[in-house]
């Protein structure tokens, strides 16, 4: 097979997004906040729509700011419901993200005639259009696909965030009180992590869609966790999985003529289930009972 530049670009972008999500996801999972990640990726929708409306296009900085703010608001609402209104955690998450997501859908429908944004694009994304969505400078020079640039920027920021705050993130993930004793502002670190998740969601939503970001956030770290319990191997394995998922996902989607992002997630899911089958406590599985369904 000859070198296909489009395929290379799509796989590169897909890998970058999958790695950014996976790296953040490792820490989300260690903090038992996987569902909060899910909630955030749903909840940024109104921020995206409002930013889109203000900026007039999805390229504006306003979109990223809007989504970032909404992500933090979602975390704060969940916290408020849990601590002040004393709603149990799972219900707080469920109520918050459904409400914010619903507001987002309503806004899309209200603005539907004014802006070029439809709910399918936000939800599923379409990485396949990447090679034709080019970044053109004012003077007319074509610099290459815009989303790839976004993914590179996103990856750099996420990797930088984790590199520079590695000690803080690790400490607060495993032992929050010890972290506090060491003088690490665990609340601040937590909010920073949530902001990074919101930012990654927005930056990737055009390519893989808001809901599928969740899959990339949760599934590769969960798969890696089945194979190793140490942090560094966990991060490395998540990265490798991210690359593998986007290569396999791309070619399978090509084969079945379907959504690339959806196929990436499906591949991730298959790998996850296979790992669970191999590494699960097989001795006990013989006794799976009816009550499992």
């Amino acid at each position: 097979m000859s070198f296909d530049q489009n395929a290379f670009l799509i796989i590169l972008t897909g890998s970058l997004i999958a790695i950014s999500c996976g790296l953040l996801g490792v820490f989300m999972m260690l903090r038992k906040m996987a569902m909060t990640g899910d909630a955030i990726s749903h909840a940024v929708l109104p921020g995206i729509v409002i930013g889109f409306f203000v900026a007039g296009s999805q390229r504006g900085l306003e979109v990223i700011i809007g989504a970032g703010i909404l992500g933090i608001i979602a975390t704060l609402i969940i916290d408020w419901l849990r601590k002040k209104a004393r709603v149990q955690l799972d219900a707080s998450i469920g109520i918050t993200f459904t409400l914010l997501f619903a507001i987002g859908i309503i806004l899309i429908n209200l603005f539907a005639y004014n802006v070029d944004l439809d709910q399918e694009c936000v939800l599923y994304g379409e990485i396949a259009y990447l090679p034709i969505d080019l970044w053109v400078t004012g003077s007319g020079t074509i610099l290459g696909p815009r989303i790839t640039y976004l993914a590179v920027l996103n990856f750099t920021l996420v990797a930088g965030f984790i590199y520079f705050f590695f000690k803080e993130l690790t400490l607060t993930s495993f032992d929050e009180s010890f972290g506090s004793v060491m003088g690490i502002p665990s609340k601040g670190i937590n909010l920073a992590l949530m902001s990074m998740v919101s930012y990654t969601t927005v930056s990737s939503f055009e390519a893989v869609g808001a809901i599928l970001v969740v899959a990339l956030l949760v599934v590769p770290p969960a798969t890696a966790f089945l194979w190793t319990k140490n942090l560094m191997p966990l991060i490395k394995l998540t990265t490798i999985l991210g690359i593998g998922i986007s290569i396999l996902g791309y070619y399978l989607a090509y084969l079945f003529d379907s959504s690339i992002a959806g196929m990436m997630v499906t591949v991730a899911g298959v790998l996850f289930l296979l790992s669970a089958l191999i590494k699960g406590r097989s001795s006990k599985s013989a006794g799976t009972s009816m009550a499992n369904i």
Binding site: M29, K32, M33, A34, M35, G37, D38, L81, A85, R86, V87, Q88, D90, A91, G94, I95, T98, L99, F101, A102, I103, I105, I106, N109, Q119, L123, Y124, G209, L212, V214, A215, V218, V219, P221, A222, F225, L226, A253, F256, D257, S258, A261, G262, M263, V265, T266, A268, G269, F272, L273, A276, K279, G280, R281, S285, T288, M290, A291, N292, I293
Partner: protein, 426 residues
């Protein structure tokens, strides 16, 4: 306005069908959701509702059209597989529950989207109807759909009502149920089936993404108003039905508007009101009752201080004296003085403050309760007299007249407390 009258007088039979469908659906999912909320498994509903998408698509591919039987069956099967995988993974891996639920939810949804794009590219003209399953469109419910969705909803409502005892055992104390001989595994299985069914019937009206709200929010909101299970279920059902109808009405007036989001917004609005204003448990209600209690304690402490001075022979205290007694509470003390003066419990003479007759009566009551409780603790609990003050300082504001009478009787109307101080009576 015309729309409003047209909608709610049900001149159009198809609207009547839709509203009946929404009512049944609301009751059914609120019932199931309340139980799973009490079981602390609220997010499982979210996982199931995302997970039915591939089933819906497969049903569509097999039937070649939007056939409700195929779609319901497909949705039920993929919801069932997702539920099975969730509990299998929980049992056989060390992953935390939220990671499992998030993985299952997103993987199934991703696979659903793969199938959806395959259908899209096949160019089937009926495709447009499938989008309704993502965000829901209650108005698109047809009479033939209603028979299936409504029928399933009735089955859910009836089973939960008839076997209320069994399902409450499941969510409140499953081990106890097992011990007294109930087949808890079968009950759990039945409950999971009902849960999947309630998601399946909701997707047409609410959509897969937001169906979770119809399961979680009514129960969570109703929980703020009552502690009684039957009332909880009724209230949750009422909330779900009201918001269901509101959402349907909006989709009727604005046809391009999906129903799901509006149902969720009105539900969340009801929930917010409950969280803030519900008696006893609402945040604002709690804030006010806490404030009131703090004020009451301050007032009673002030009365007590005045009375103790009286016992020492000083009939009045200056405001400055009082401030010295309670440093750091100047503002609260100022409020208390004003309040007690208004109520006729104290007299203010320039800077001097003294108790009125009524004030003496009230102060005696507080001091009496304090000293009675101290006596009780030393005599019956064998606590040393120098350790009883703090507890009495709290209990003096809470002890009711009935409790007081019992204490008096138990202690045989004592004259002195453990610190040899007089217990004042009128």
């Amino acid at each position: 306005m015309d729309n409003f009258v047209y909608f709610f007088t049900f001149q159009d039979l198809s609207i009547l069908y839709v509203v009946i469908g929404i009512i049944l659906l609301g009751i059914g999912s609120a019932y199931v959701g309340t139980y799973s909320f009490l079981d602390k498994k609220a997010l499982l509903g979210d996982a199931i509702s995302h997970a039915v998408l591939p089933g819906i698509c497969l049903g569509f591919i097999l039937a070649g059209e939007k056939n409700p039987v195929y779609i319901v069956t497909g949705a039920f099967i993929s919801g069932g597989i997702a539920t099975f995988l969730t509990s299998w993974l929980k049992k056989n891996t060390k992953l935390s529950e939220d990671a499992i639920i998030a993985s299952i939810l997103s993987v199934f949804f991703g696979f659903g989207i793969v199938l959806l794009t395959v259908i899209q590219k096949s160019g089937n003209p009926e495709m447009a109807g499938l989008n309704h399953f993502i965000f829901g469109n209650a108005i698109a419910i047809l009479e033939e759909d209603l028979w299936i969705y409504g029928g399933l909803a009735v089955i859910i409502i009836l089973s939960l009502t008839i076997f209320q005892k069994e399902f409450s055992l499941l969510v409140f104390n499953s081990d106890y149920g097992k011990a007294i001989g109930y087949p808890m595994e079968i009950i759990r299985f039945a409950f999971n089936v009902l849960m999947i069914l309630s998601v399946v019937i909701g997707i047409q009206a609410i959509g897969v993404v937001l169906m979770a709200a119809l399961l979680i929010t009514p129960g969570a909101a109703a929980r703020f108003w009552t502690d009684n299970l039957s009332k909880l279920l009724l209230l949750a059902a009422l909330f779900a039905v009201v918001s269901g109808i509101a959402g349907t009405y909006i989709s009727f007036v604005l046809p391009q508007m999906p129903t799901g989001p509006w149902v969720v917004v009105s539900l969340s609005f009801i929930a917010l009101i409950s969280f803030l204003f519900a008696p006893k448990k609402g945040t604002i209600t709690r804030y006010f009752s806490r404030n009131q209690y703090l004020k009451k304690t301050n007032n009673e402490h002030l009365l007590k201080a005045l009375y103790k001075n009286r016992e020492l022979g000083q009939r009045m205290l200056t405001i400055e004296n009082i401030y010295e007694l309670y440093p750091y509470q100047k503002k609260e003390i100022k409020h208390s003085i004003e309040f007690l003066f208004k109520e006729g419990l104290i007299l203010k003479n320039q800077n001097f403050i003294s108790l009125t007759d009524y004030g003496i009566h009230e102060a005696k009551r507080v001091v009496r309760l304090h000293r009675l409780w101290e006596t009780y603790l030393t005599e019956y609990m064998n606590i040393a007299p120098d350790h009883v003050h703090d507890s009495a300082e709290k209990l003096e504001h809470i002890i009711t007249p009935e409790l007081e009478a019992q204490l008096e009787k138990r202690l045989n109307f004592p004259q002195l407390d453990p610190h040899q101080e007089n217990i004042p009576r009128d």
